[in-house]
């Protein structure tokens, strides 16, 4: 079942949320990140309920960004903080952060965010 499906634009990421995965990809530099990410947090609440009700037993979060503005980064940190809490109750949740091989900053950012939020997240080169 599709929970959220937002097409990517030049300034906002593509978002796809269903009962199997939660995927954000592309560029994120919206005019108002807080407002834009409201729908993302609302979808996360739905996934949280399904996990609590044991309607889902396997779940994957994927972050496949090409660019993140610093104002968006604050929202991404908030999202990862929520995931960290969720992962403590549901350790089977997997989280993946992808980056282009030549994009060391994106790699470093993923590693730092995992450390800051205490999230078990795989930081992997985009294939």
């Amino acid at each position: 079942m599709n929970i959220l499906n937002i097409e990517g634009t030049i300034s906002t990421p593509a978002i796809s949320v269903d009962e199997i995965s939660f995927v954000l990809s592309g560029e994120t530099r919206p005019e108002n990140p807080k407002k834009f990410y409201e729908a993302v947090f609302s979808s996360l609440e739905q996934i949280h309920s399904k996990l609590t009700n044991e309607a889902i037993s396997n779940y994957k979060f994927l972050f496949d960004f090409e660019y993140i503005s610093t104002s968006s980064l604050v929202m991404i940190k908030k999202l990862l903080m929520e995931l960290s809490k969720l992962q403590k109750d549901h350790p089977f949740i997997s989280v993946e952060w992808r980056y282009y091989e030549m994009d060391e900053d994106m790699q470093m950012l993923g590693e730092e965010l995992a450390e800051i939020t205490g999230l078990n997240m795989d930081v992997l080169i985009r294939s």
Binding site: I10, S11, R29, E31, K34, Y67, S69, T70, S71, L73, V74, M75, K77, K78, M102, D103, E104, D105, M108, E112, L113, I116
Partner: protein
């Protein structure tokens, strides 16, 4: 500080760039849609330069942070037309990013101290401070702990700021990032 007109200031800024290869150039009113258009155009221009991908990413990132900073800190006065200067150019092996806007004159010393603070840090210190600020920033509050300025400094080889007092009492703030 010499008092000049908006027109003279614009000409002066662009005159200094006359021998540079200009990738993008704009002056006038700025809003998010227009900024997005400029950002996309810069992306295309950077591809044409054939510059190394890592350098291209630094230029792109600094430009986005700077232009978003202009939009979010424009003077909120309905009687005043927002006015910005945006330019990216190449001179030899370096790229120069100029981003300027009108600011509240009372914010001059705060801005000056913020730029001075990042200017005197090494890349390692900047990255450490960026991480600390990212860790401490409260997502529920509106400010982003000046992460954008730190990101621009991390991307750059040098960062400077200039203030120009305009004849009508307005203050123009210009940030110059060299990559």
């Amino acid at each position: 500080m010499k008092i000049i007109s908006k027109r003279k200031l614009t000409l002066q800024v662009f005159e200094d760039l006359v021998n540079n290869e200009v990738l993008i150039n704009y002056y006038g009113s700025l809003n998010f849609e227009l900024a997005s258009y400029l950002i996309e155009n810069l992306k295309l221009s950077l591809k044409k330069t054939g510059v190394d991908e890592s350098v291209s990413r630094k230029i792109y990132s600094s430009f986005v942070e700077g232009i978003q900073n202009i939009i979010s800190h424009q003077i909120d006065d309905v009687e005043q037309v927002p006015y910005g200067i945006v330019n990216v150019s190449r001179k030899g092996d370096s790229f120069l990013i100029l981003l300027g806007n009108l600011i509240d004159p009372q914010k001059k010393s705060i801005l000056e101290s913020k730029v001075d603070a990042v200017k005197n840090l090494s890349e390692k210190e900047l990255r450490t401070e960026f991480k600390k600020r990212l860790k401490d920033v409260d997502p529920e509050k509106s400010n982003s702990a000046h992460l954008g300025l730190f990101q621009m400094a991390i991307n750059s080889n040098d960062i400077n700021c200039y203030f120009n007092e305009l004849e009508n009492g307005e203050l123009f703030f210009l940030v110059e990032v060299t990559i």
